[in-house]
Symmetry: C2
Subunit: 373 residues, 2 copies
C-alpha cells in the first residue's frame, strides 16, 4: 500500500515517488499545512489547482477542536475536509511544546492546557497514535519530545531518549495498516545525539523518517550543518521528511542533503500577511508602490490570482480588509511553492539542481529577504 521509489539522484538529492492509499506524491514534495482541517482561506478545489499533492493536518489542533472522535464520526480527515488526495498528520509533539502551556512532562507523556479554552489535555505516544488512527491520514507521525532551540544539552539528551522510547511505543500502538508511520529524529544541533536517535529509530523500523527540532530558532547555517551529516544517517530507501521547513533556500539546501518531503505554513501565513512570493523575492502587497501596478503578482504565473488580479487590485483588497486579499495571495504563494518544487524535481532529473538559484534567486536569500519596499 506504501511504496517509495527513487527514480533519479543528483548528488545527495533524490527524485522519486511516494505511493499512498490516496495516490502518488512526486518527491521532493512540499505539503501545504491545513492546521485545523483547512488550508486557511482556500477550498479543496483551489488547493488542487495549485498543484498540491499531499497536505498536512495538525493532531494537536484537530484533537482540541473538533476532536478526533468528531472527525472520525464525520468520515475521517479526507471526507471531513474534502481533500481526497494523500494526507499526513503530525503527532502534536511540536505544538504541545510551542503552543501549549505545559503542566507536567515526564517520561510517559505531556499534560498541558489547551491554548483555546485552558482545558487540561494529555498527549503521549498511545494517545497521539490513537488520535491519528482516528483522523485517518495516509501518513502519521510518532509522538516526539521537541524542545525549542537554543536548549541546554541535558534537556536535548532527555528529549532524544524519550523520543526513541516514545517512537517504539507509537509503533506498538499503531493499529491501522492503511497508514504509514514515520519516526522523528530529534537531537537539536548535537550530531552525536542525532546519530544515536537516527540509528535507534532505524532499528525499530519505520515507513519513513523525519527530522524534527529544526526551524525552531536556529540559523540557516546551523540547520544546514545538522542536515548534511544527519540526512545520510537515515535509511536511504525510505522517505525523509524535514518538518516545518521552510523558506526556499532552506528547501534547496535540504533537498541537496537528501530530504524528500517538506511542510510549512509560510505560503499561507505570509499570504494572509500580504506577502507574495516571487522567484526574485517577496512582495509586500500593502505597499504604496503597487497602487497603480496593473501587473500580476508574478509574471508568467498560472495561478488563479495571477490569471486576473493586478497588484493594484490585491493592494486594494488588503487595504480594504477584504478576505479576498489573503485568499488570492495564499493561492499564489501555494502555487509558487508547487512550481518551485516541480522545477527542483526537473533539475534533479537533469543533474543540475545547483542551477536552481539562477531561476530562483530567492533560493539564495536569507529568511527575512523581501523586496526593498
Amino acid at each position: 500500500m506504501f511504496e517509495f521509489d527513487i527514480n533519479h539522484t543528483d548528488g545527495h538529492a533524490r527524485h522519486g515517488v511516494l505511493t499512498t492509499p490516496h495516490g502518488p506524491v512526486a518527491t521532493p514534495a512540499f505539503m501545504p499545512v491545513g492546521t485545523a482541517g483547512t488550508v486557511k482561506g482556500v477550498t479543496p478545489t483551489q488547493l488542487r489547482a495549485t498543484g498540491a499533492q499531499m497536505i498536512l493536518g495538525n493532531t494537536y489542533h484537530l484533537q482540541l477542536r473538533p476532536t478526533a472522535d468528531v472527525v472520525r464520526e464525520l468520515g475521517g480527515l479526507h471526507r471531513f475536509t474534502g481533500w481526497d488526495g494523500p494526507m499526513l498528520t503530525d503527532s502534536g509533539g511540536f505544538q504541545v511544546f510551542s503552543l501549549g502551556k505545559i503542566r507536567k512532562i515526564d517520561d510517559g507523556g505531556v499534560e498541558f492546557q489547551s491554548h483555546i479554552d485552558g482545558a487540561t489535555m494529555r498527549l503521549d505516544p498511545r494517545i497521539a497514535t490513537d488520535v491519528q488512527n482516528k483522523l485517518g491520514a495516509d501518513v502519521i507521525m510518532a509522538f516526539d519530545d521537541c524542545p525549542p532551540l537554543p536548549c541546554e544539552a541535558d534537556r536535548v539528551e532527555i528529549a532524544v531518549m524519550r523520543t526513541i522510547r516514545w517512537a517504539a511505543e507509537c509503533k506498538e500502538a499503531h493499529a491501522r495498516t492503511d497508514q504509514a508511520l514515520f519516526g522523528i529524529v530529534q537531537g537539536g544541533l548535537d550530531l552525536r545525539l542525532r546519530e544515536h536517535c537516527a540509528t535507534q529509530l532505524a532499528k525499530i523500523g519505520f515507513d519513513g523518517y523525519a527530522i524534527g527540532g529544526l526551524s525552531v530558532g536556529e540559523s540557516h547555517d546551523e540547520m544546514v550543518e545538522v542536515l548534511r551529516p544527519v540526512v545520510p544517517m537515515l535509511p536511504a530507501d525510505r522517505p525523509r521528511y524535514l518538518m516545518g521547513v521552510g523558506m526556499p533556500r532552506d528547501i534547496v539546501a535540504a533537498v541537496a542533503a537528501g530530504v524528500d518531503m517538506f511542510d510549512c505554513v509560510l505560503p499561507t501565513r505570509n499570504g494572509r500577511n500580504s506577502q507574495a512570493f516571487t522567484a526574485t523575492g517577496q512582495l509586500k502587497m500593502r505597499n504604496e508602490k503597487h497602487r497603480l501596478d496593473d501587473s500580476p503578482l508574478e509574471a508568467g504565473c498560472d495561478c488563479e490570482a495571477c490569471k486576473f488580479a493586478s497588484r493594484g487590485y490585491i493592494r486594494h483588497l488588503f487595504n480594504s480588509g477584504e478576505m479576498l486579499g489573503p485568499t488570492l495571495t495564499s493561492i499564489h504563494n501555494l502555487r509558487f511553492y508547487q512550481r518551485f518544487l516541480s522545477r527542483i524535481r526537473e533539475l534533479i532529473r537533469e543533474d543540475r539542481l545547483a542551477t536552481i538559484v539562477n531561476e530562483y534567486p530567492i533560493a539564495a536569500m536569507p529568511h527575512a529577504a523581501s523586496d526593498s519596499e
Copy 2:
C-alpha cells in the same frame, strides 16, 4: 448596445433578457453585491460558478477607496475585479445617507465625512455620474436623495423633488454611450409622491427605472403596498430594478408586482455570519445540533460547498474562526439565490409563479425566520 426583451408574463410578473455590452442577463435577476470591488470572500471563478449573471459595485465605497481614478487607471471595474460579465454601480445616494456623517445637504448635492478616515467628500449628480463613468459598469444609477424610513412628509417631498432634478442632471452629465443610465424613483410610502417621481423620470427618459427608498426600515407589508401600485407606473418596456431587496419573500412579492432586477448583501452577509439559506429556512451553522451532521447545507444543492462539505465540517470552520466557513457558506447562499431566481423564471414561463412557495417555503416566511435552533 442595450436591449430589454420581455419573453413571457405571468400576471404582472415578467421574464425577459437584458442585453449589455458584457453579455445578457435573464430576468428576473438577482445581483450579488461586490461593495468594494469584490463579492466578499469569493473569487470571480467561484462567483461565476454560482450562476451569478450580473454583479453590483458601490460607488460610495469605491470612490473612497481606491477611488474611481485608480480603478480607471487599472482598466475599469471589469478588469480591476476580474468580473467580465455585466456589472452595475449604484450612485452612492443610499450609502451617503446610511453610512456617511452628513455635513451639509442642499439642492446641489451632499457633503459628508468618509466612514473610513473622516475625510470630507462630496457627491452630487455630476460627481456621482463622473465617478460611475470612470468605474465603467454596464449600468449606472442616477444620484438620488434617499432618506431612511420612517421619514417626515416634508422631508420625503424634498427628496422627491431633488431626486427628479438630480436625475435630469445625471442624464445631462452622463458621458458614455456604452453605459446604460437608470433613474431612481423615491417617495417613501407616499403613493402620490411615488407617482409624481415615476412620471417625471419617465418624461426625462432613462434606460431603466429603479425603485429606491424601500427595504430601509419599513415592514414587508408596507413595501408590498408601495410596490403593487408603483411598479406599473414605470415604463413597461424598460427594466425595473428594486434596490437593496431582499429576502426570498420580498423578491417573490416584487416579481409578482413586475420587478425585473434585485440586489442584496444578504447571501454574503448572512453567509459570513454563519447563516445558510435553504428552501425551508435559514440554518445557524454554529449551532451544536450540526456537530455530527454529515449532510450538506442543503440536500440536492450543486454548489461548491455542498459538493463536499458536511454541516459538521462547516460548523467546525466557524467555531475555529477559519475563513473557509464564511467563504463556503457565502458560496452556498449565492448559489441558493441563483437557483431560486432561476426557478422563478421557469415558473413565470409556465404561468405558475404563485406555486413557488410550495417548493420554497422560505418565500412565505417573515424576514427574521430561521430554523428553530
